[in-house]
Amino acid sequence: MEAATVFGAARPRYGERLIRALLFLAALLSILTTVGIVASLLRETVAFFGDVSLVDFLTGKEWAPLFADPKFGVWPLVNGTLLVTGIALAVAVPLGLGSAIFLSEYARPRTRRVLKPILEMLAGIPTVVFGYFALTFFTPEILRGALGVDVQIFNALSAGIVMGFMVLPTIASVAEDAMSAVPQSLREGAYGLGANRMQVSTRVVFPAALSGIVAAVILGISRAIGETMIVLIAAGQIANTGVNPAEAYETMTAFIAATGKGDVPTGSIGYKTIFAVGFALFLMTLVMNALSIRFVRRFRQVYE
């Protein structure tokens, strides 16, 4: 074979083109799926607001969509979601980041090699297991038994704390990855100035890994907001506008799951309600993700 020029004649690279096309299809498929989901959500949501006023939905304080005299104020569901998520984060963020710092900065390599996979396995426990753990063990044995807290059998506290344990490995694992990725030279620079381990961890490694750590927390928040099984099983299904975590609450996800598996006829107002709540949930996560992306960008500017 003779080359026409020093570089040879360019041969068409069919393999490369094929791979490119396949990758493009994969990307297209995931975009189309998302668009499809949003579109179907949107369609039913629009239909819902044909029957129910948006103002009632957003400002009403009562939620009873399936009653004879239905009430469509979504606030109790949002309240339940925020309360349980808040409790979960209060558990998962400090413990998760603490574990991440321990694994990345304190643990010997051997310890880390053992603990990290265990942690990641924990993230794979089905949430239904966490749900029954909350209902049949954590509430009666720990909260009521060991700690003597006066909680209802279905309550936000137990669901929130157990959800925190569910989210913890995700936060710990992603944050640990971010911290381990901080170059060793930065640690050496800090140790070389007489910093101790705690100072190196909190003043050098943590800020240097901040965008990854924020991403870890956001991932945790998203999982907590979207989590369904635990709240469905352990938090009760009572629309509640209070803040007492010892009481039962209904979250947006628990409502969707409970109503969806019940027999609401397609096209009925109950059916459309599911989509309206789903759309509201979608908007909440969207806004949160958008805020967090901006947050991460801002810190990028300072730290990179």
Binding site: L193, G194, A208
Partner: protein, 273 residues
Amino acid sequence: MVTTDRAPSESGVAAPAPAEQIFELRGVTVSYAGVPAVRDISLDVRAREITALIGPSGCGKSTLLRTLNRMNDLIPRARVEGSVRYHGEDLYAPGVDLVQVRRRIGMVFQKPNPFPKSIHDNVAFGPRVLGMDGDLDEIVERALRRAALWDEVKDRLKANAFGISGGQQQRLCIARALAVSPDVILMDEPCSALDPISTSRIEDLMTELKEDYSIVIVTHNMQQAARVSDRTGFFTVDPDDRAGRMVEFDVTDRIFTNPADPRTEAYVTGKVG
């Protein structure tokens, strides 16, 4: 191995004052996971001198340098045998405070490694973690001036340290080390990532700093060792056990003009690599 006690020729006319020993190494062997990286090193580092360590890649220069501020403690399977004395005290005695060790024995690394913080906060980092008294802004300014960087950055102290040039970053790292008022500065190929102009600025700086500090520098640059250092140790890899050995330690002039060992001569004249 030949060790002479003559003062460096640079210090010239006046009779040499009795040399103050900063480090005394006797029979130092450093191993990683049981494999010696550098074996049986004995040398003295004197106050207000620049001591250069030269030799081919892998002969253990960095390893030896890092034993001087116990940086090897950060590597789980590193082990130091023999005696390392700092101002006569055993640096590896149980109960030695590593924070104090590293505060007195500063280090500048091969690649500039500023923290992802502002220029000011980089220099202030050491004084802050050590809880040093005094006006922080003053400490920062003094350190930056000493590192010949002040004029270039005084208007942007709040700017991120990653935004300045590599040579400036390296001087920032020197300023950062100076801010905690060390006694010795260890430098591991501090100019290897820099252009010739930045390099010569840092060499000038080292010569200036020598008045107040003792410096130990690892370098691959023969001219640099010859230009700036007072004493030089030449290291090589022993062909039998692959561990680093010190071939010769002497005043720099001698190492470069009239070394005792033919291997040294071959290396400094560029005949081997």
